[in-house]
């Protein structure tokens, strides 16, 4: 039926494993099996009452992370998450057959501070350690100069699809200005690292989903650094900007394309 897809040879008939892999991918992108997962961080709470080992609130790191994360890619024209949108585009035969699943997080200063606080509590840091940790993080990621995007790439198919040289990844603003990454740092992960946490409300389904993901998904974390300012000195993400798009295009075939959009007004609201 297809001679090749995404530049890789494709068998005429899908094997059982391939079929399962596609189903797992679709489940993952639709958020099935994710369900309720308590979002937690440490509030400044009284130790004998609210605090505990870990706590959550609407302002928690997990909540902020979720708000700044868009998911899009394989087999998805819509997603179940409220704060992002995404789509896969291509010709009819390829539509919905994008081989990657992407979870991209906009690492702004609010999230970085919440993350620093979160990890300082997890590691029982002193005030001095936290200060040093924060400075070290800001220095390493230089978010004053760059737009820092953390992306989790996943695929139920071959690890070949995770190779970044297969893809052109860029940001696009509302005026269709496009921005290429200035720096990219890869963090390979091994097969079997499930991204999502299990739920307390959907045990059986989630366990199934989680096991399928562990069995079939390969993943990689990547840091992308985009310019924070135009050449003229204007900020790329201005105070009036409502939406920012992340576009992923196969380098050898522009028809294989997926994109996700951050709703910045939703992020700024908090």
């Amino acid at each position: 039926m297809f001679g090749s897809v995404f530049g890789l040879p494709v068998r005429n008939r899908l094997s059982f494993r391939d079929a399962i892999a596609w189903i797992v991918g679709c489940m993952s992108i639709l958020g099935l099996g994710a369900g309720y997962s308590p979002t937690m961080s440490y509030p400044q709470a009284k130790p004998e009452t609210a605090g505990g080992l870990r706590s959550s609130s609407l302002e928690s790191f997990d909540k902020l992370w979720q708000e700044r994360t868009i998911s899009f890619g394989q087999g998805s024209d819509r997603t179940g998450f409220p704060s992002f949108s995404g789509s896969s585009v291509g010709d009819r035969s390829e539509r919905g057959a994008f081989p990657l699943i992407l979870h991209a997080t906009f690492m702004d200063s609010v999230l970085v501070e919440a993350g620093s606080q979160e990890y300082s509590r997890l590691a029982s840091m002193t005030e001095g350690e936290l200060k040093s940790y924060r400075e070290s993080f800001l220095s390493a990621h230089d978010i004053s100069r760059y737009i820092y995007i953390w992306i989790e790439l996943q695929t139920p198919l071959s690890e070949e699809y995770l190779k970044l040289d297969r893809w052109t990844i860029f940001l696009e603003d509302e005026q269709k200005h496009q921005f290429d990454p200035i720096r990219v740092v890869e963090h390979p992960r091994e097969r079997g690292v499930a991204r999502r946490q299990p739920t307390s409300e959907d045990e059986t389904g989630n366990l199934l989903s989680e096991r399928l993901q562990e069995r079939f998904l390969v993943a990689k974390d990547v840091e992308f650094y985009f310019p924070k300012y135009h050449i003229q000195g204007e900020p790329v993400v201005g105070s009036e900007m409502r939406r920012l798009k992340l576009v992923v295009v196969q380098s050898s075939n522009p028809n294989v394309r997926a994109e996700g959009t951050w709703d910045l007004s939703n992020i700024r609201k908090h």
Binding site: S37, P38, T39, M40, K46, E48, T49, A50, G51, G52, L53, R54, S55, S56, S57, L58, K63, W65, T105, M107, L111, V112, G115, S116, E118, Y119, L122, A123, S124, M125, E129, Y133, S136, F137, A140, H141, W150, E152, H187, R189, R195, Q197, P198, T199, S200, D202, E203, T204, D221, E223
Partner: protein, 264 residues
């Protein structure tokens, strides 16, 4: 005439099935040790549910509600052992699931540590401390207030506040919980327990073994004497094999209204 009687009986049984069992708490003379050891509960009356597969007993003092759950059914034991036990506590004495307790927190407390690059920024010593903390969270008790979208993980053996313990004893899986009556100090949107004189307690069984448990008694239960009088294994039918031929009927969550005891 016959159809009318049948309809009447159906309506009566339907209404009765929705009623919660009422349980009287026993006054705890001294604070209970929360370790899953049933010994401290040997004189306490247990109420049996689900044809003996689950039994509950409640004690309280002026600061805490103590709850013991005995699970006799092997399949249910395996599922709860694997997934943890989920309780709901309703300060109004009804069946609200807003305040949820899960023990052990297990994978609910797991984190994707590598995300965002925060983990890589830790020193080796900080990584070791973090790993230890994560492990403690996995064995902790997760309490979640859905109204305030607020959750906390507490050490399971903490000296004050929420605590929980679990152990196997004579073929029974025992869960013990300590729940502070002043829950509003822990969760801003929660009310204090016992202001109405009673507290609603729910135990989540639905979804655990839909295909294993046959006849479902829902909220109905019966009071029995202390387990110590029934010899090894708990007796009283708790270890009876499943009946109803693994019919696949839905298993209801168990709800009880607990009337708190006053100081003696």
């Amino acid at each position: 005439m016959k159809p009318i009687i049948c309809t009447f009986l159906f309506i009566v049984s339907f209404v009765l099935s929705g009623c919660k069992e009422e349980v009287r708490s026993t006054w705890a003379q001294s604070p209970l040790k929360i370790d899953g050891d049933i010994e401290e509960w040997k004189d306490a009356p247990f109420v049996i549910f689900e044809d003996g597969r689950l039994a509950l007993s409640v004690e309280n003092d002026s600061a805490y509600l103590y709850l013991a759950c005995r699970i006799g059914d092997a399949t249910l034991q395996r599922m709860i052992d694997r997934l943890g036990l989920t309780l709901w506590v309703d300060p109004e004495g009804e069946s609200s699931e807003d305040l949820e307790i899960h023990f052990p927190a297990g994978r609910s407390a797991e984190l994707r540590l590598s995300r965002g690059g925060f983990w890589d920024n830790l020193t080796e010593e900080q990584k070791a401390r973090t790993s230890k903390q994560i492990e403690e969270m996995r064995t902790g008790i997760l309490v979640y207030d859905k109204r305030g979208v607020e959750s906390h993980v507490y050490p399971s053996r903490s000296a004050r506040g929420f605590a929980a313990g679990a152990a196997m004893s004579n073929g029974l899986l025992i869960y013990e919980f300590r729940i502070p009556l002043d829950t509003q100090k822990f969760f801003s949107r929660a009310g204090a327990l016992g202001t109405q004189g009673k507290v609603g307690i729910g135990v989540k069984l639905s979804g655990l073994r839909e295909r294993q448990i046959g006849s479902s008694s829902g909220g109905s239960g019966r009071a029995i004497g202390p387990p110590g009088r029934r010899g090894r294994g708990g007796g009283g039918g708790e270890n009876r094999p499943p009946i109803g031929g693994e019919s696949g009927e839905r298993t209801s969550d168990v709800w009880v209204s607990v009337w708190l005891a006053g100081a003696k």
